[in-house]
């Protein structure tokens, strides 16, 4: 008897708890709002032309998304090649660092975007397809998924994605943002060296290009450093990197010019003075080399010992 009365009560309580939980969840999911400035400058609709669609096979949305973005940018690589390069059989999926690494292997620079809806739409409007990581399910039973955002409509408040087995799938801003927020709004674009995302931060761009150079070579990276110093003309480190890339491709004159710009922007950049001195020395300009190396040797830091040794070598007449 007792049990019979209790059961509906217990069920009612459970239902209440579930309902409350769902209400709380709905409270969290709101339609994303754009910053006023973005809303005014962005076109009402945008669409990235010519993004081929590759339907994912089981678990392989990572390689599929990469193939779409790379093919769009003129890299002729089939999905079959990408699968062994990025898919992890034991995890039945692909992880973020390797998504970026694979882009580098194919000669494009991956730039992770900041976590804002504005940036996502801005990149689409700039003609760049964006790979996004979504958790389509709830945090407790995650269903991680890579998709490629290729278009939006501000009036209809809808995003268009190549996703899974569905080309040009339309998702409302609200539903998309709820699933995207669960990956901390992780997204990236894969660009040719020489192109930069419009809102990218200086450090983020610098690290992305340097990581690319480590995998590819100076020749391939040179246009990226040129574009970087154009975007960030006050970055001493940027000119320093440009100088190194020019030097590695045999352009000594250009390297010297870039190292001079580096120290003009940051007089305390010892490593730039050091490379300037070494390059001048190789050029036969002993006086200029001595000046630069003396400056480098006077600056405390990691490269001081290096600079002192180089100065000694110069004095001993090597």
């Amino acid at each position: 008897m007792q049990g019979r009365i209790d059961r509906p009560l217990r069920n009612a309580r459970l239902a209440g708890v579930l309902l409350l939980g769902l209400l709380l969840l709905t409270g969290c999911a709101a339609t994303p709002r754009l910053a006023e400035s973005t809303a005014q400058t962005l076109p009402r609709q945008a669409w990235v032309e010519d993004v081929p669609f590759h339907a994912q096979r089981e678990y392989q949305c990572g390689p599929a998304a990469l193939a779409m973005v790379l093919n769009h940018d003129g890299v002729d690589v089939p999905m079959e090649t990408l699968i062994p390069q990025v898919f992890i059989p034991g995890r039945e999926g692909s992880v973020q660092p390797e998504m970026l690494a694979t882009v580098r292997r194919h000669g494009r620079i991956p730039f992770v975007l900041n976590d804002s809806f504005d940036t996502l739409l801005t990149e689409i409007a700039a003609g760049h397809p964006v790979i996004v990581l979504q958790n389509l399910s709830l945090p407790a039973w995650p269903m991680w998924h890579y998709a490629v955002a290729i278009g939006y409509d501000l009036d209809a408040r809808e995003l268009t994605l190549h996703s899974g087995e569905e080309a040009e799938r339309i998702e409302s801003f609200r539903r998309f943002d709820a699933t995207w927020a669960r990956s901390d709004r992780w997204a990236f674009v894969a660009l040719k060296p020489g192109e930069l995302p419009s809102g990218i931060g200086e450090q983020r761009a610098l690290q992305a290009i340097a990581a690319f150079e480590q995998v590819q070579d100076a020749d391939a990276t040179l246009p990226a450093w040129s574009a970087f110093v154009e975007r960030f003309p006050h970055s001493g480190m940027g000119y320093f990197a440009l100088g190194n890339a020019r030097h590695a491709t045999g352009d000594r004159e250009g390297a010297i010019e870039a190292f001079r710009s580096a120290v003009a922007q940051r007089d305390d950049l010892g490593v730039a003075w050091l490379n300037l001195g070494l390059t001048l020395q190789a050029q036969g300009d002993t006086g200029g080399a001595r000046q630069a190396l003396e400056r480098a040797a006077a600056l405390p830091g990691h490269w001081q010992a290096h600079a002192t040794a180089a100065l000694e070598r110069l004095s001993s007449g090597d």
């Binding site: 994912q56 949305c61 039945e92 979504q134 399910s137 690290q207 990581a211 190194n244 190789a282």
Partner: protein, 130 residues
């Protein structure tokens, strides 16, 4: 992984120490420029210890990927394409990193909850709810 670390750490420390000694003791006649990557990592504190960690990380990532069934012929190139920071992240938390797959393995209860959240527009598991 632990044994690998114990075995490799002293070797690497020795190699790096010897490496820097030989540079200062017998400088090469042709002076090499400092690379951008070296300059960037030196800007961070504890550059040397970090370098040791990064080399160890790559060895660990390699082991883990092989254990996870990645093709042996691909492992080297895959690890080489990671930035130092990414290699470190992979070594520390490969198990926790979200692996994008687009498939959910679920029970009936979960199915019902997800169905409701799908209808509410919070999730996007079932194509037919839109």
């Amino acid at each position: 992984m632990k044994t690998l670390r114990r075995f490799l750490s002293p070797l690497l420390i020795l190699a790096l120490v010897l490496g820097s000694v030989s540079v200062s003791a017998a400088p090469l006649p042709t002076s090499e420029l400092i690379s951008t990557q070296a300059a960037l990592s030196a800007e961070r504190a504890d550059a040397d210890r970090e370098r040791i960690n990064e080399i160890l990380s790559r060895a660990e990532v390699q082991e883990q990927l092989i254990a996870q069934g990645v093709d042996l012929a691909e492992v080297d190139a895959r690890v080489a394409a990671l930035s130092d920071e990414e290699a470190h992240q992979m070594a520390e938390q490969l198990e926790q990193l979200p692996a994008g797959a687009g498939v959910v393995g679920a029970l009936l209860v979960v199915f019902i909850v997800l169905l409701v959240t799908d209808i509410l527009g919070l999730t996007n598991v079932f194509p037919f709810t839109r």
